[in-house]
């Protein structure tokens, strides 16, 4: 009874300890959560340990290794493996929760606290982990350090298997195979049955005549080698009966092999999309500052092309599988999801999304997408395509921050193309960055040589740039929507302030050069100060 009381007290103590919870959560994230940023480093570390220890063990086969390497392998690597194993066992489940549950149940049902049952439950849960395939591999991977037993060397293999844990790709491979469990099991049974029958028959027929077949083990070995169509030829049948059996199982073997191949191939073709989608979502998760484009419409395609050329990351979401296929063929990241459904954004971390663009061809979809995105993130910048002019207001209400309409843009350009045709051509060249002449924004950074300078003191000619104007930032306005005051062709005496944005025109090399000078001068300044 005292022991039970002690258990319950301990369980509640742990349950109430924030520090314990925090530590456990950290360990759990580190070991199991793929989205946890530090897990990757942990994985790399473990992969390094495994590879180094495998190399050491292989090296040891031929030449005696140095004492330090031996210590490193036996104590450090194995030590880390043991600690990892124990930690995994620890975070697998919460023991104290089992105790508390039982305690609460016993109070509720007014029966005595059943210590035996609790202990049994705890052991059952932990054993469940211990006997899971990956845990067995972990355990076996610890063994090779015990060098006195040579046979344990075989478990070096398990160290290599341990790599599975740290590599997404291989895990996927096994997931695919797992989806065909029943078929593979059937196949295995079939193979086992054939080996059994043919092995026994060859043993019966040839044991007396064939010098190579002495035991049943030899016979099974021969059967498998033959059935797999490998056929080493180290053991060959010598009697007529034996040869007849060989002919039969060769035919059966060809059948079995094609059966196995077809199972695996079909498993992959079924799961391929899922895996690919998974991978894309995973890649997208690792991106920082990217755009989400919903609907791979014509406009979206052109935008994607431009983004790609400028090296900007983006993710395309479209609900048409064929369209997604096309986007993937172009080498873009694309997933097949319905962006009007909440499900589509469940993997997306809106903190690293620069903006979401709803570019479908129908306003209704765009409105849904805006609402949907807003329900996930209040701050995310949303841009929407509008087909109908009446939709502008609705889209704004649905949460779009900016509305683009090809019709309105076309209207702007159309009017100008009559009055100022060359201007439009020039602007077009600049906007499309066709002739390598660009329009670029350069911010006046604190400490850079631009700060506090007058326009006349900056020799734009030397940089081979044209200054079109300056955009002044309004401090009160939110970052995304500022840019209120544009000063065209500013006065000679105009003094630049930090935060002003110069609009310059020039060739890409000149602009890159100018930008790097601005940034460089600000860094130098920072160092001095």
């Amino acid at each position: 009874m005292r022991f039970a009381q002690f258990l319950v007290d301990l369980a509640f103590l742990i349950d109430n300890s924030l520090r314990y919870q925090r530590i456990k959560r950290f360990v759990k994230n580190l070991l199991e959560n793929d989205d946890y940023p530090y897990k990757r480093y942990f994985d790399y570390f473990m992969i390094f340990l495994i590879l180094s220890s495998v190399v050491i063990i292989i090296e040891e086969v031929k030449t005696p290794i140095s004492k330090w390497l031996y210590y490193y392998d036996v104590y450090f690597v194995t030590g880390v493996f043991i600690v990892e194993y124990l930690l995994r066992l620890w975070v697998y489940n919460d023991v104290h929760k089992i105790i508390i549950l039982e305690y609460e149940e016993s109070l509720f049902l007014e029966r005595p606290f059943d210590t035996k049952r609790v202990v049994k439950e705890i052991i059952k849960k932990k054993l469940e982990y211990i006997f899971s395939p990956l845990a067995i591999i972990d355990l076996l991977a610890i063994l090779p350090s015990y060098r006195e037993l040579r046979i344990l060397r075989i478990f070096v293999l398990f160290r290599v298997f341990k790599l599975l844990r740290y590599s997404q790709n291989i895990t996927h491979f096994f997931q695919v195979l797992a989806s065909k469990k029943i078929e593979l099991f059937t196949l295995l049974m079939l193979v086992a049955f054939t080996i059994l029958v043919s092995g026994i028959s060859i043993y019966v027929f040839e044991e007396q005549h064939n010098p190579h077949i002495n035991t049943l083990y030899d016979a099974f070995y021969w059967a498998l080698v033959t059935i797999s169509t490998v056929g080493y030829g180290d053991i060959a049948p010598v009697t007529h009966e034996g040869r007849t059996i060989t002919m039969i199982i060769i035919l059966v073997g060809v059948g079995l092999i094609s059966f196995a191949t077809s199972i695996i191939v079909s498993a992959f073709s079924e799961k391929l999309n899922e895996i690919r989608e998974n991978r894309i979502v995973h890649t997208a998760k690792r991106l920082d500052n990217y755009y989400v484009i919903c609907g791979f419409s014509h406009m979206a395609q052109l935008l994607a092309k431009r983004f790609k050329r400028e090296g900007i990351d983006f993710l395309i979401i479209d609900n048409d599988a064929n369209v997604v296929e096309r986007a993937l063929a172009e080498g873009y990241l694309a997933i097949c999801e319905d962006a009007t459904q909440a499900d589509a954004f469940r993997h997306i971390n809106f903190n690293s999304v620069k903006a979401v663009m709803a570019l479908t061809q129908t306003d209704m979809h765009n409105i849904y997408i805006c609402l949907n995105v807003r329900s996930f993130s209040k701050e995310c910048f949303i841009i929407s395509n509008a087909v109908d002019n009446n939709s502008h207001k609705k889209l704004k209400l649905a949460g779009a921050d900016y509305i683009i309409s090809p019709y309105i843009t076309a209207g702007f350009f159309a009017a100008k193309i009559i009055d100022e045709p060359i201007a439009i051509e020039a602007i077009k060249d600049i906007l499309l960055a066709r002739k390598n002449a660009l329009c670029e924004q350069v911010e006046v950074i604190k400490g850079s040589f631009l700060e506090g300078k007058k326009i006349k003191d900056i020799d734009f000619d030397r940089y081979k740039l044209i200054l079109l104007g300056i955009v002044k930032m309004e401090e009160s306005a939110p970052k995304e929507k500022f840019y209120h005051k544009f000063i065209f062709n500013p006065d000679e005496e105009h003094r630049l302030e930090v935060g002003d944005i110069l609009i310059v025109m020039g060739y890409s090399v000149s602009i890159a050069n100018f930008k790097s000078q601005v940034v460089g001068s600000s860094l130098r300044h920072g160092k001095k100060a």
């Binding site: 159309a414 009017a415 060359i422 006349k456």
Partner: protein, 235 residues
């Protein structure tokens, strides 16, 4: 410099509606032609008066329309790209010299329109997509271009043909402080010596300006006017 053009606009769909409004804002006279009476009704609602029901397949009707109204530009702005191609070809066969402007939504149509003889083609999707790019990636540039092109009516682009004997004739670009002295920004020029291609000044090559070259400048209306006066170009 703003003279009133008479523009014949075909269609009154989503594109044409916006185009018509912007043209009207710039004080052009817009004549709207369409076969669809519903479209013309919308046009009437928007305040356009010069409306005509025209079958684009009827050459006689088209010829009458243009001659009657003394049209200077033709704008093919049907939402249906094929009609625009058809119209471009028709007009090029009827009136060789009349400038035809057409809109399209894809590169393929743009190519066809150019083959059909359209003088200017606006790819609306390219325009919108690139605009979108600037808005998200370089908002300040987008703002500046908006301001220069559309919002601020006092800033204009101008093509100036350098007259013979003017003070620019025979000078090098580098020797002239366009923005300091005349308050206009020289973007580029069409140099007759180097073929009729538009060249950005930022190439860094020091061009010699000759009579007949076309300078592309941007600036305040007033400053450009003064600059032109100095050059001796008729205002």
């Amino acid at each position: 410099m703003v003279k009133k053009h008479k523009i014949l606009l075909f269609g009154f769909g989503r594109y044409a509606e916006q185009i018509a409004k912007n043209l009207a804002l710039d004080a052009h006279h817009v004549v709207i032609a369409s076969l669809d009476k519903e479209e013309l009704k919308v046009a009437a609602k928007d305040g356009f008066e010069d409306l005509h029901v025209v079958d684009i397949k009827d050459d006689a009707q088209l010829t009458d329309l243009i001659l009657d109204h003394d049209i200077t530009h033709i704008f093919c702005a049907f939402d249906d790209e094929e009609k625009n191609i058809y119209l471009s070809i028709t007009f090029k066969s009827l009136f060789r010299t009349l400038p035809v402007i057409a809109i399209c939504e894809s590169k393929e149509t743009e190519r066809k329109l150019k083959l059909a003889g359209a003088d200017k083609v606006i790819d609306t999707m390219v325009a919108a997509a690139n605009r979108l790019y600037y808005i998200v990636e370089k908002p300040a540039v987008a703002e500046a271009i908006d301001e220069i092109l559309f919002k601020d009516k006092s800033i204009i682009f101008e093509e100036i043909k350098v007259p013979k004997g003017s003070f620019l004739d025979g000078k090098n670009i580098k020797d002239i402080a366009f923005s300091k002295k005349y308050k206009v920004i020289l973007i580029g020029l069409v140099d007759k010596e180097l073929g009729n291609k538009f060249i950005f000044v930022t190439r860094g090559i020091n061009h010699k300006i000759d009579a007949g070259d076309v300078l592309v400048v941007v600036g305040k209306k007033e400053d450009i006017k003064n600059f032109k006066k100095l050059l001796g170009v008729m205002v």
